[in-house]
Symmetry: C2
Subunit: 217 residues, 2 copies
DNA sequence: TTTTTAAAGGGGTTTTTCCCTGTTTATTTG
DNA sequence: CAAATAAACAGGGAAAAACCCCTTTAAAAA
């Protein structure tokens, strides 16, 4: 906060149409000014390392091509932990929200909110130090315990490759071939994953992989 | 266009954060003014039917809860065909783009463009009557012929239900039960779809359904 | 050295996939 | 109108793939 009681904001979002519109909106709020905006984490690092003024708040998009929101949040927390991160995303799936909050975000906003909520979020962020919308609070309640999630989600390299290949039209025999393993080993991976993920068949695996963003279609 | 040579724009988008930011951005362009913005097609209908001034351009989001972009575009084309529709969307999948262009959109913009491109698009739309970004032009080239697509995509009611159920962990026997049909009939649906969609197995069907937005996860 | 883990095999059931046939009911057309 | 045609539904039979449980081996970790 500078001498006039104005809080400063930096927008990190590769959707520059959105970013610049957002900038105009935020500048229209009293007490908030946008310092600059960056297309991704790398650009943010560059500008901050080159001595650009540090903001009070960083509005951080999650889906960015070069250095995404998770990595960027990590870097911010390590190097400038005083900056408050407000995650911005289209996605409202639990996985994404939780991951971002664990990386140190002080708030999570869906991009489809109205301007008043953004203003509220920014104000609350400066006053209380955090902001959580109803949906996020709900998500936090529903969230499974981190260790249970760890058991489920800690996939070994080969398991991840198998999952991705299983989300194609290949037979297990073909998957075994391209992975250079015995079909019996592949069957072992399959069986182990079915048990851990509590799924009944390959379609369940595809759905799981999609929900957890293990594959893209 | 009014007497001062100013083109008018209406924004239809349920993401009011985005919509209002966009409004500020467009108003910052010379020659363009936003008349109002609506949260969805129904609100647009209401305001236009109540005698609100007709714009030159409607910026139309595709994903809206109440009356989506497709339906809204249809209504605009039927009732006010002089208005130029510029579709706005996060999605860049061919299906979505093509569908919107067929509904009469004069242009298609991804939301992750920069402000200059929006300005260019608006200007070109008024001058040439259409605007197509590189990605859209590319999509148009890749697009399959409408009739071939028709054969593929004209699903009968039962086929659609079957596809959706096949994208779950149910066995075909279970699907037959809930649909009140013989497993053999279900097998017929399956076989016919595999042939028409040129897919090899059930995973292929799941992937297809996801790509064509026949199911949501 | 004991335990754990990754890879692989044996052997079996169930489900999926495939092809071909037949019935019934609309729909089209000669 | 009657005959041909198309469609929705269903069955038989069989090979391939998926699914399941239990064991073994070799190497790595504890």
């Amino acid at each position: 906060m500078n001498k006039e009681g104005i809080h400063t904001v930096v927008v990190v979002d590769d959707h520059s149409l959105f970013a610049r519109s957002l900038e105009k909106l935020i500048n229209s709020f009293s007490n908030f000014r946008v310092l600059f905006h960056a297309k991704n984490g790398v650009e943010l690092q560059d500008r901050i390392n080159k001595g650009e003024k540090l903001p009070d708040i960083i509005l951080l998009d999650i889906n960015m091509p070069v250095m995404n929101g998770y990595e960027t949040a990590e870097w911010i927390m390590e190097n400038h932990p005083k900056i408050k991160i407000l995650a911005l995303s289209m996605e409202d799936d639990e996985q994404t929200i939780l991951k971002m909050l664990r990386k140190g975000a002080k708030g999570y906003l869906l991009k489809d909110i109205n301007p008043e909520i953004l203003n509220t979020a920014l104000k609350e962020l400066m006053e209380k130090g955090f902001y959580h919308s109803e949906k996020v609070s709900e998500t936090l309640l529903h969230s499974i315990s981190p260790d249970e999630e760890g058991i489920i989600m800690n996939f070994k390299e080969n398991e991840l490759i198998f999952i991705q290949l299983a989300c194609s039209e290949m037979t297990y025999k073909e998957i075994a071939d391209v992975m250079g393993l015995s079909p019996k080993t592949i069957d072992g991976y399959r069986q182990d994953l079915f048990k851990r993920l509590k799924i009944k068949n390959r379609v369940g695996l595809v759905i799981f992989a999609l929900k957890k963003n293990l594959i893209k279609i």
